[in-house]
Point group: C2
Chain length 200, copies 2
């Protein structure tokens, strides 16, 4: 069995949300599983000297045009949440805690969190919002709420972020296909082409 596509994203990344709407379909069409891997761009930006896209003069204005335009092109709902940018650490910790028990359910949680943020424009930054969404997927709110306070759950996310940086991941979305890196929602077609042809 071929290695899964690694799909890195930050829950607070609107382009990550857009990629999340398409990457599983690409994997399915090419016979590859997709391993979703939330990261924290805030932990990586000091290395690259970046800052949240929407805060950058000129670039931010452009992104506010480009994001809904991409969403219209691919036919998915899009809304900017308030506040933005927001902390995505609770969602990311919840994801890995759940993934260690049930990978499919963790992906379901990720999709639900993304849909809340960028599909409906809701505030998904707090642990409370994440726990509530998880509850809708049959996850015990009290158990998840307690887990989010555990040091080993915090360490799990930190190790994932460090591991991503170690692989050269610096943005969201970011894909690794058999080690080949692709950055940006606008590389989805290249990811698909690479899987189809084996590279060029």
């Amino acid at each position: 069995m071929a290695e899964p596509i690694e799909f890195y994203f930050d829950f607070s990344s609107p382009y990550g949300y857009l990629a999340a709407q398409e990457i599983d379909r690409i994997g399915e069409a090419r016979g590859r599983a997709v391993s979703w891997k939330p990261i924290l761009l805030g932990a990586i930006f000091p290395t690259t000297g970046s800052q949240p896209l929407l805060n950058i003069p000129l670039k931010g204005d452009y992104a506010r045009i480009d994001l809904p335009r991409v969403a219209r092109r691919v036919g998915v709902p899009f809304a900017m949440p308030t506040p933005f940018p927001f902390m995505s650490v609770a969602a990311a910790r919840a994801f890995y805690w759940l993934a260690d028990q049930d990978a499919a359910k963790a992906k379901g949680l990720a999709k639900a969190v993304f849909h809340g943020s960028f599909g409906e424009g809701r505030d998904m930054s707090g642990a409370g919002a994440v726990v509530e969404v998880a509850g809708g997927l049959g996850i015990d709110p009290a158990v998840l709420g307690a887990a989010l306070q555990e040091q080993k759950v915090k360490d799990r996310l930190r190790a994932e972020v460090d591991g991503a940086i170690g692989k050269g991941v610096f943005g969201s979305p970011f894909f690794l296909v058999d080690g080949e890196p692709f950055w940006g929602n606008d590389r989805l077609q290249d990811v698909d082409g690479w899987l189809e042809t084996g590279g060029w």
Copy 2:
């Protein structure tokens, strides 16, 4: 006649070079002229807090993989020039000086400069290199060499850069299609789609 596509680029931008290989073909297929407009990213980066892509940790390493990969996909030669990044002010001044006399010849100069830099990896930063390439296109080296020292030629480029910033241009390549902004070589397909459909 519909307005031309505005194609903004920096002569020192490798993604600008890649876009330059494709944008005229897209314009031709959609019945639009393409107005080439060199700018200086160095004059814009203070506004956006950016720096030359290849100098950025992690991002630079990625670009060194992605650039030749895009070039292979579209089948154009690609080489990183030395030194890099480099000053592109001489090429940009020469372009507008020539464009005011003969727009087609200016585009020919732009293509030749880009080919020298990123097709062959040559150092095109100095006035001497630009004048030499221009000479190959039948432009009198002495006349161009003198023009590059004129204040009005310098002011012409400065006005173009200021005008571009005023329109929200912050990167290379950057396209305006009837006022709609598209940033990045990976938006070429969107530019084409926008021209075909009138937008979405």
